[in-house]
Symmetry: C2
């Protein structure tokens, strides 16, 4: 599913479609329409149709979309019809919560390595993984071929960790530290920062 020229803003909506469709699937709904999906997500039916039409013709006039089929197609498009191994750096409070989180498995992701620099944490078990020494990260990650990383270290260490992840061959980073990461072209970063989301809302509060 090679991307010719799909706008980023379209791609950014697809995971939301997939998530909603997977819920429908679990609820036993076999068929849906752009209208129904749009109502659930809160966007217009036309936008959903146009977004999907960028990738193919997935629906049937008069009938709508097969939920199963559309889930399958979206998984292919998003490259999650496989499992991506993930390396997690930072085994503190947040790192523990994420490592124990069972929600990744069904959606194409699996945390397979955890690193920390604190000797007190190295060797500790989290679930069925053992916290490893951050000093060995670059070598181990490079050898493993892992392409996706998560950063849950304090802000002042995050850029250095990102640099190492890049050195280790990581191409996508989910960053939980409240700081802007600078990475080479071709490396993708997404930033999860609750404060930014909260401030987006307080703007609208009296």
């Amino acid at each position: 599913m090679i991307a010719k020229d799909i706008p980023d803003i379209v791609v950014s909506r697809l995971p939301r479609y997939l998530q909603t469709l997977e819920h429908m699937q679990k609820d036993g709904i076999r068929t849906t329409s752009s209208q129904e999906l749009g109502d659930l997500i809160g966007i217009s039916a036309a936008q959903i149709r146009k977004d999907l039409s960028q990738f193919g013709e997935f629906g049937k006039q008069g009938k709508g979309y097969s939920v199963d089929f559309l889930v399958d197609q979206l998984r292919q498009i998003l490259n999650v019809n496989r499992s991506w191994d993930i390396v997690l750096v930072g085994a503190g409070n947040l790192g523990h919560a994420i490592a124990n989180y069972q929600g990744f498995g069904n959606h194409g992701f699996s945390i397979v390595m955890i690193f920390d620099s604190d000797p007190a944490l190295i060797g500790q078990k989290i679930g069925n993984l053992t916290v490893q020494d951050a000093a060995q990260m670059v070598d181990l990650v490079r050898a493993s071929g892992i392409k996706v990383g998560m950063i849950t270290v304090p802000a002042q260490a995050a850029q250095a960790v990102a640099d190492e992840l890049v050195k280790a061959g990581i191409q996508a980073i989910l960053n939980y530290a409240p700081i802007n990461l600078t990475v080479p072209e071709g490396v993708h970063v997404q930033h999860v920062d609750p404060i930014i989301y909260l401030q987006r809302m307080t703007y609208y509060l009296a």
Copy 2:
């Protein structure tokens, strides 16, 4: 600083500006330019100037922006030149990590109540807060006047919790559960979902 008709997309960038400026402030930088700020964040200088000009004239030609002044202005615009009390619902793994997280305090937020429905957790201390019984949530939150809530319960409970928060007078919800919440007009929701961010990146991976 209630402006007329600022596009949502502009508002959504302001917290990022504020965050970056606060870092500059901590680093002792007194003055900056739209160019410098843009380089750090990864957007164009013109966009930053245009965004800020929606709210006033904060810069000086030839000199740039005073970091302190701009931080102060952005805090006013975003309504975080005060502290917002927050109620957290769900004292599980993630709830614990968030409740223990020290990062909110400096940015206009403070978790002041935690609720859970699990009798084993009610009464437990997290930091200096005590987990309270979710059955009493509506009354206690309403009485407190809190306007901002966070949901860290399992997906299947999230909508019910959201409904209760709305009933309790909450106007802004930060939702960590991987499900789409339906709320009345006027209530703001932001969704934090790591899987969505990961999938946005794997699209671009080979």
